[in-house]
Amino acid sequence: MNGIPPEAWGAVFLSLKVAAVAVAFSLPLGIAAAMALARGRMPGLWLLNALVHLPLILPPVVTGYFLLLVFGRKGAVGAFLEQAFGLIFAFRWTGAALAAAVMGFPLMVRAIRLAIEAVDPGLEQAAATLGASRIWTFVTITLPLMLPGIIAGAILAFAKAMGEFGATITFVSNIPGQTQTLPSAIYALLQVPGGEAAAARLAAISVAVALAAVLGSEVLSRAVARRIGGRDA
């Protein structure tokens, strides 16, 4: 199809799947971590902050290596998850999603945290005086008001997941049809003679997906901003 080998198309769809799953599963955790960092007053928050930001600073290969140590089939968590739930990460697409989620997490948390810090606590106090418990207040006031940040964070994490390479290839290798994501496919095509044309086409797809993500986030956050600060219902 269009000079792109079928297995390369597989890489495109795998990448989309990996990114979508990574964002879907990390989003609730990202919101919780951002809430803790923005509003929490317990000791040890600096540790959480450091942990969240670690993948941003570490070489991706090192992150991938740690993932292999912890979530590999002989790793402490990996072995437990396989025994308890039959969930295997190492050298599976689920592992690629885990690597993408971990690498995108700092970006997601930073965006959401900024949005939480912009929410006026006075509005939450007002909700409390009207009878809303803390959970109700969070669901009906805080969450809708931080929605632009959640969308921005999710799209950033999605884009990061689409492009993740180092940690993914270290943790789950580059198995066509199984763990070969878009960047790994481009890398693989560039390793064989005559692969440049197909690699260029995949790169173009990569650019298109990134542009679509940026545009989509722009349209979405404008629509949400209109809903939140707007003049009409």
Partner: protein
Amino acid sequence: MLEIALQHEFGGFALDIAFSAPGGVTALFGASGAGKTTVVNAVAGLMQPDRGRVVAQGEVLLDTAAGLCLPPHRRRVGYVFQDHRLFPHLSVRGNLTYGTRFAPRGATGPGFDQVVEMLGIGALLGRRPGALSGGEKARVAIGRALLSRPRLLLLDEPLAALDAPRREEILPFLERLRDAGMPVLYVSHSVAEVARLASTLVVLGGGRVLAAGPAAEVLADPALAAQFGAQEAGAVIHARLIAREDDGLAHLETGAGPIWLPDAPGQPGEELRVRIHASDVILSRHRPEGLSALNILPGVVTRIAPDAGGRAWVQVRLGQDSILARITQRSVAALGLAPGVECFAVLKSVAVTRDDLGH
């Protein structure tokens, strides 16, 4: 019934207050920094004082001695914030109904349609707070608090940011609310608002209660007059509107005799509160004649408090009510004014404005 006792220290400021009020509108009056908002926040549960006890309508909201501190959402106090704090992502309708779902089943109060009509916000229901003017926001905030069916309404300077016409839109509504029996704790630094609304007046200064009692008594206390400011000090007398006369003046009857005022609102037979600024009152030992002032009421001097700059505050009893007069100590001496002395209070009709008249 409202009982408040609070002790709290923060940033070098010590708050130590206690007062109780029988119901109606309890006004907390004081300069900025007197601790008014801290008191209201403690009643709402938004801040926890070092020590304190708050009882509203028989329900203990806070009692640090007993280790009891209800969280804000279980106190059922409707708080109208100075900055209104409308939810920007909800429509006016969504804001108004926000608290209704949390109100207990048995709670009574005005319904949605009634509140919308009373506040005149029917045309705004579909809008968002971003599209409202200051006066509209204040009305929506009051409606939202009311519709949560509170046992006590807290109003923190809800009219402070509004101009006079906007205030005049909301004050009659607050008067009706008071007359319907809704207990209100009203924070204000406007003597005009306090004189119109308050049944009980608590004067705060430097974190202490300087005076607390029935509003008419506190406003007529010469020892406190300086707290209200030289231009603003003045007491409230009660008058019944008798008739509107052909030249535009309204004839009212007070406990000490008839008075004539321009701009009096309401229908004949209605009771009005008339605020008389102390600096607008002239005292005379004899009934003056050939004077342009229309209102001359006989009374008895009850108290005199000297003030700085050779001035004095004189309290004069007029029938059931008392007024304050601000005159010089020289005049006090020249007229031989002392408690028990009979005199006439001269009040210019045009000195009383719409702002001074309440129901």
